[in-house]
């Protein structure tokens, strides 16, 4: 085992938004900082690569954000999605601090733009990164390099040696060799465990083998497991993950934003037996796409099939894979591997249950519903009659896992015996403290930025 000759004050595990915010903040105090990023350089940045905005409280127009977004409104938006599974103290800290983060982000190289086409509803609450999350990651790596932060790519941390109330050393592999370093402080910012399919399967059950992972294949939870095994306090439901319904043809990992499918409200969705299983028109898609991840996960083979006709094709954002296209429902069933007679029956039963569609309005809850159908479709219920017919497959796409490290308001980790003097955590790996359930667009980046900066500040104060 080689021991690193260079002495670092702080080792940051991970290379995404939270890790970079921590590293920059610590380096600005004069601390010598090393980032250990397990991904190769082209894939650096973890799930931050796939993000696009930052949810930000503001009392008056700020940067690209219009009007205002108060702490109370922000918190109430959060409580709506988490159903109360939130540490309110930490949540308020994240929300309140987000306001000062936006100018800090700009100072560190991030550039914002008005909200993207199709996301106007977020113009007040979410600041969009020009070029998306990878451009933010690129800017932060530039700034970190200027501040003297060293970065090792493909450096996989295997173990932190916890001895009582402090981390003694850290082991990692790099270029085929094992290394041991003894930094004064360690910041864990290496995400959840969703890319470890075995772990996910142990937690969720067999269906998880068919789940797709929307983000990085490098969030395998190695450090998280290592710390939990040593008795570090955890938070969040260990069996749960945040999942959405995405195009079934998406790659196993890293499909990102382009694999989302927004057509469900204008469709019927069936399982592999060609039976409908849920109200497709329950609410507007941004509010429902998360539950569809679970609905699809509960179907045989964890797959769903979306059927629309030609009059709905242009009502939603184009997705990366073109739909299957057929002149008849039976032909479409053949292309999708569904029982044709059963699908034709499901479609005709649905069509017969449709009523007056003159109030149809694609962007509002229009109340155009089915009559006497189980399950019903309560909005946007228009008969599927106009060829050509189009079909997509749906699978469960995992965004992140909830299980993480429990931290206090200084981002410090602890065991049953109290605080660990030189261990902090930031980002997805501790987000379960605040986001116990559900997800709020742009809030992951808020947690990462706020707690990354806190962890960097606290670790540097300890080390210097």
């Amino acid at each position: 085992m080689a021991t690193q000759t260079e002495a670092y004050d702080i080792a940051v595990i991970g290379g995404g938004n939270a890790a970079l915010c921590a590293a920059m903040t610590a380096a600005e105090t004069g601390a010598r900082v090393l980032i250990l990023e397990t991904a190769p350089k082209p894939y650096r940045g973890g799930n931050s690569r796939h993000t696009r905005n930052f949810r930000c409280m503001h009392k008056a127009p700020l940067g690209p954000l219009i009007e205002d977004y108060s702490e109370e409104e922000y918190l109430s938006d959060l409580l709506k999605v988490t159903g109360g599974k939130t540490d309110e103290h930490l949540a308020r800290l994240a929300i309140r601090t987000s306001e000062e983060c936006l100018p800090w982000m700009e100072e560190h190289g991030v550039r914002f733009q008005p909200s993207l086409s199709g996301t106007l509803s977020l113009a007040r609450t979410n600041a969009f990164f020009m070029g998306g999350g990878k451009s933010l990651v690129n800017a932060y790596y530039r700034t970190a390099a200027r501040l003297g932060v060293d970065v090792l790519y493909e450096a996989a941390v295997t173990h932190l040696e916890l001895n009582g109330d402090r981390v003694e050393w850290l082991d990692y592999t790099y270029e085929g060799q094992s290394h041991r370093i003894k930094p004064k402080a360690v910041i864990v910012a290496s995400g959840g465990f969703q890319a470890d399919t075995d772990w996910l399967t142990r937690a969720w059950g067999e269906p998880a083998k068919n789940f797709l992972i929307r983000g990085t294949p490098y969030n395998r939870g190695v450090v998280l497991a290592d710390l939990l095994n040593q008795g570090v306090d955890s938070v969040g439901d260990p069996t749960q993950c945040h999942a959405v319904a995405i195009d079934g043809r998406a790659p196993k990992f890293d499909g990102g934003i382009v694999t989302r499918l927004d057509c469900v409200p204008f469709s019927i969705v069936v399982n592999k037996d060609a039976d409908r299983f849920y109200d497709e028109g329950e609410d507007v898609w941004p509010k429902r796409y998360a539950i569809w991840g679970r609905l699809v996960a509960a179907q045989p083979d964890q797959v769903g099939y979306v059927i629309i006709d030609s009059k709905s094709l242009n009502l939603f954002m184009p997705s990366v894979f073109p739909p299957l296209k057929a002149d008849t429902v039976a032909e479409l069933a053949g292309m999708m591997g569904l029982p044709a007679d059963r699908l034709c029956k499901t479609v005709s039963e649905f069509n017969e249950a449709c009523g007056d569609t003159s109030d149809f309005h694609p962007t509002e809850l229009d109340g155009v519903a089915t009559n006497g159908l189980t399950p019903p479709k309560t909005n946007w219920a228009r008969p599927i009659t106009e060829p050509p017919f189009y079909g997509y497959s749906l699978r469960t796409g995992v965004t992140f896992t909830y299980l993480g490290l429990k931290v206090d308001d200084t981002a410090q980790c602890s065991t049953a015996n109290g605080k660990i003097k030189n261990l902090w955590a930031a980002g997805e790996t501790m987000a379960g403290s605040i986001l116990g359930q559900g997800y709020l667009a742009g809030f992951g980046m808020t947690i990462g930025t706020v707690f990354g900066r806190i962890a960097g500040r606290e670790a540097a104060a300890y080390a210097n």
Binding site: G131, S135, D254, P318, V320
Partner: protein
């Protein structure tokens, strides 16, 4: 047009259309996001709107090794060059110069030869200054067609382009909008104004934008110099040679310096850039063209500096030979991009006003 280039650009554009993260960078993305499906003409228009600033490449979460393998700047650069070759008139000439720097060098040698021959064979009928080497009438006889024929050729090409991209009758506001964007090189600045990603991976810099401005404004000043001199000659009967404080000389000398420095800077920048984010097959032709353009500026400055020495006749032949080659190759080299860019920006201004 090569369908496989268009098809590859279309594949990539469809992925971009499902993502949209790059919307703020340049003119390409708002135009792209306005469509759901892309005709060959749409792809050609996007390709000519793209200024190869590369911001989208470095921001992209789907570049290789990701299986989506996006490299939009390259895909559009290839379609762009292919479109110029396909629209060029007369056709067979076009395919040599975009991809072959050697062909440009050969054309330059021929240009020199023509001028040396003209000086020897026609000579002067007793003028002053340069006209003592080659008469004014001989210069006009050579350069009037050498200027007008390429313009005619470009006109035909642009007509073909305009038809394919679905261009509409042009309003003056379309033209002013396009000139404004081109004049500031806004599409090399990114939406945030920090410049483009070129010479140092994902670092934003104004280097390429400013150097391009030096080349463009340097060239325009040289062109203005000649135009002013023509007006002075024919309208006011003021004949060359002109003194330093005359308009032709002031435009010419400062333009020549800008053009020469700009072209040298552009070659240096290009050497630092990643060739695989542009059209790799056009590398030689692009460098050859930039060197030719820079040489036009530089030889003009040398001619001015040494115009009263015995080297002047040879220098005149060399400078005018370079100018002749440059003019004649305009429709078939990177020089054509200026015309296409303007056409694309005019078309984009039309799209923005909804036609």
């Amino acid at each position: 047009m090569q369908t496989e280039l268009i098809q590859e650009a279309r594949r990539q554009a469809e992925i971009c259309n499902a993502c949209r993260y790059c919307e703020g960078y340049c003119s390409v993305f708002p135009s792209l996001h306005a469509e759901r499906a892309f005709s060959d003409g749409d792809i050609t228009q996007l390709a000519n709107l793209c200024h190869n600033c590369r911001g989208c490449y470095y921001a992209c979460q789907y570049t290789a090794p990701h299986e989506f393998d996006l490299n939009l700047p390259k895909a559009l650069a290839e379609v762009r060059r292919d479109s110029w070759e396909s629209y060029a008139w007369p056709g067979p000439l076009a395919r040599r110069f975009h991809t072959h720097g050697g062909a440009i060098a050969l054309a330059l040698v021929i240009g020199f030869a023509v001028l040396f021959w003209a000086i020897r064979a026609i000579g002067s009928s007793g003028g002053e200054g340069f006209y003592a080497v080659l008469s004014h009438n001989a210069m006009v006889a050579i350069f009037a067609p050498a200027f007008l024929l390429p313009l005619f050729s470009i006109g035909i090409s642009l007509r073909r382009y305009w038809r394919d991209v679905g261009g509409k009758p042009v309003q003056i506001t379309d033209v002013t909008a396009a000139f404004k964007r081109a004049g500031k090189m806004q599409d090399l600045a990114a939406g945030h104004g920090d410049g483009c990603n070129f010479e140092d991976e994902d670092r934003f810099s104004q280097g390429r934008r400013h150097i391009h401005q030096a080349v463009m404004y340097g060239f325009l000043m040289c062109f203005a110099s000649t135009s002013v001199a023509t007006v002075m000659h024919y309208v006011f009967g003021l004949h060359a040679p002109y003194g330093f404080w005359s308009l032709p000389k002031l435009f010419g000398v400062s333009g020549g310096i800008l053009l020469t420095l700009g072209c040298v800077g552009m070659v240096v920048l290009k050497q630092k850039s990643d060739r695989n984010l542009g059209d790799p097959s056009a590398w030689g032709g692009d460098i050859g063209f930039i060197l030719l353009l820079g040489f036009v500026g530089f030889s003009g400055l040398v001619l001015y500096a040494l115009g009263s020495t015995s080297l002047m006749p040879a220098l005149l032949a060399i400078h005018l030979g370079a100018v002749l080659t440059f003019f004649l190759l305009t429709p078939y080299t990177k020089m054509a991009h200026g015309f296409y860019r303007l056409a694309a920006l005019i078309r984009d201004a039309q799209r923005k006003r909804g036609v």
